[in-house]
């Protein structure tokens, strides 16, 4: 998470930036070289341990054929659908639990019983109930990422300072205004943290869900299917795309959200 800071902190001076790029590239060159040596030495069968050249070629071929982008888009759509569902349910339930003592008393036991079970453990159950395919996959992703969002929204609403509420009410704000202008902004850093955690969790689990749920397209399915045909190079290409999407999410979504909350509200390192 901090590597962007080190990258971004590089001064505008050109040689410094070049040095930074070289410094960041160096470890990859070393690891790549080791990989290549091992691959070419023939310690492992070439089929199982493809050279970088093979991986790059299959990456280019699959991209040119439009197969890789199709898988990636399906995966992203599934991520968005699942996460969107989780965000809507999670924030609603969490805020409700934070606002109403009754809702908290009734919902918290159920949520705390369901939460500690790893989401993937529910996968076979969902597959039986909803059949293999899209519905199960999206519901599972939603179910898995929901709990982090619920807990954070709940904590956030409860963490709103009592004195803010009382002063707002003393100034004559009604319930609706207190909610919109005091509680929501006060809980927002927590809610955003919850959303970030939820999205990260959804992403980590999605690949496995795709493998288990037998969806027709998706990166998880691509690499799982490639195993059957010993297409290690296609598998590697799929993993590279997964890594790129992961890094993209990290850089352009999680870090943006984090900066937005941490920098603007000054709540550095409060959650995880």
């Amino acid at each position: 998470m901090d590597d962007a800071a080190t990258l971004g902190a590089a001064p505008a001076v050109r040689s410094d930036r070049l040095a930074a790029v070289a410094r960041n590239a160096f470890p990859f060159v070393v690891v790549g070289a080791i990989w290549e040596i091992v691959a070419r030495a023939g310690v492992f069968p070439r089929k199982l341990f493809p050279t970088l050249e093979d991986i790059a070629r299959s990456f280019v071929d699959l991209t040119a054929a439009g197969i890789l982008p199709h898988h990636a888009i399906e995966t992203l759509l599934r991520l968005l659908a699942g996460f969107g569902l989780a965000a809507i349910i999670g924030v609603t339930v969490g805020v409700l639990m934070g606002r109403s003592r009754r809702a908290e008393d009734f919902l918290l036991p159920i949520v705390s019983i369901l939460a500690p079970i790893p989401g993937l453990a529910y996968a076979p159950l969902f597959l039986l109930w909803f059949g293999p395919g899209e519905v199960s996959a999206v519901l599972l992703v939603a179910f898995v990422s929901m709990f982090a969002i619920i807990f954070n929204a709940w904590t956030g609403v409860k963490a709103v300072k009592e004195i803010w509420l009382r002063s707002a009410m003393a100034m004559g704000a009604d319930d609706k205004r207190v909610f919109r202008h005091v509680i929501l902004p006060g809980a927002l850093p927590y809610i955003l943290t919850g959303l970030r955690l939820g999205l990260a969790q959804a992403w980590r689990i999605l690949v496995a869900v795709e493998m288990l749920a037998a969806v027709p397209w998706g990166l998880g399915w691509l690499i799982f299917g490639a195993r059957e045909f010993l297409n290690t190079d296609a598998m590697m290409a799929g993993i590279v795309v997964i890594a790129l999407i992961g890094i993209g999410l990290e850089k352009y979504v999680f870090q943006k959200i984090e900066n937005y909350t941490v920098v603007r509200w000054g709540m550095m390192g409060s959650m995880d």
Partner: protein
Amino acid sequence: MTDTAQRRRTLIRGFLSLVAAAAFYQSVAMSGFFPKVLLPSIPTILTTLYGALADGTMEQHAAATLYRVLLGFALAIAVGLPLGILMARFKPVENFFLPLVSALMPIPSFSLVPLFMLWFGIGNVTTVLIVFYAATFPMLFNTWTGVRSVNPLWLRAAGAMGADEKRLFWKVIIPGASPFIITGMRQAFLRSWIAVVGAEMIAASDYGLGWVIFDSKEFLQTDVMMASLVVIGIIGYAFERLVFGSIERATVYRWGMVRMAKG
């Protein structure tokens, strides 16, 4: 006074809500609206759970899963902790490993399962390695952050009082970084626990709670599935609360590093 009344009401409501949820589930299960094999009744689940515990199969599965998760977790600590400290203390180490870590960290551990299955076959090696991969990064990252965030004033104060490198390390840096390190362990265990269940499902062997759940799908044994879910939930909860909770109480809370969280 009102506080205890409020607490009692919370307990009663919590109990009521669980009873209501169980009753609702039971009535749906008994209504025959869904096939009974897909939605077993609560007594059936409990009987299955008891039977599996009594004949020792559930314990065997749990032991296999625990073995994998603890081995992978221990490996992750053995690699993540020293590497995190080295990265925080020595700039060249950080320069070399940080880009690699940043590139590998966003790859979900499950995406490596098919590859590891090809390389290492089905069974313990693959599952342990997946757990290891999942757990290393939170461990590493938190240790790195923790050591870097040790108050420089403490380092200088200890240095001024004549502490040598070794004492500085053991008496200042490690305790100072401990809240982060323990958070790292906690996150790492959580990830391991998720990873082991998933890895067991995909890279199935003959034992393990994840494998049982997935295997019972083939035979429509929903009761076995539910019983295993209960066991997984209990073990996960026990680790989270008992093990890490007590580690935290014995270390960082006692040292006054973190404010004791309420509840």
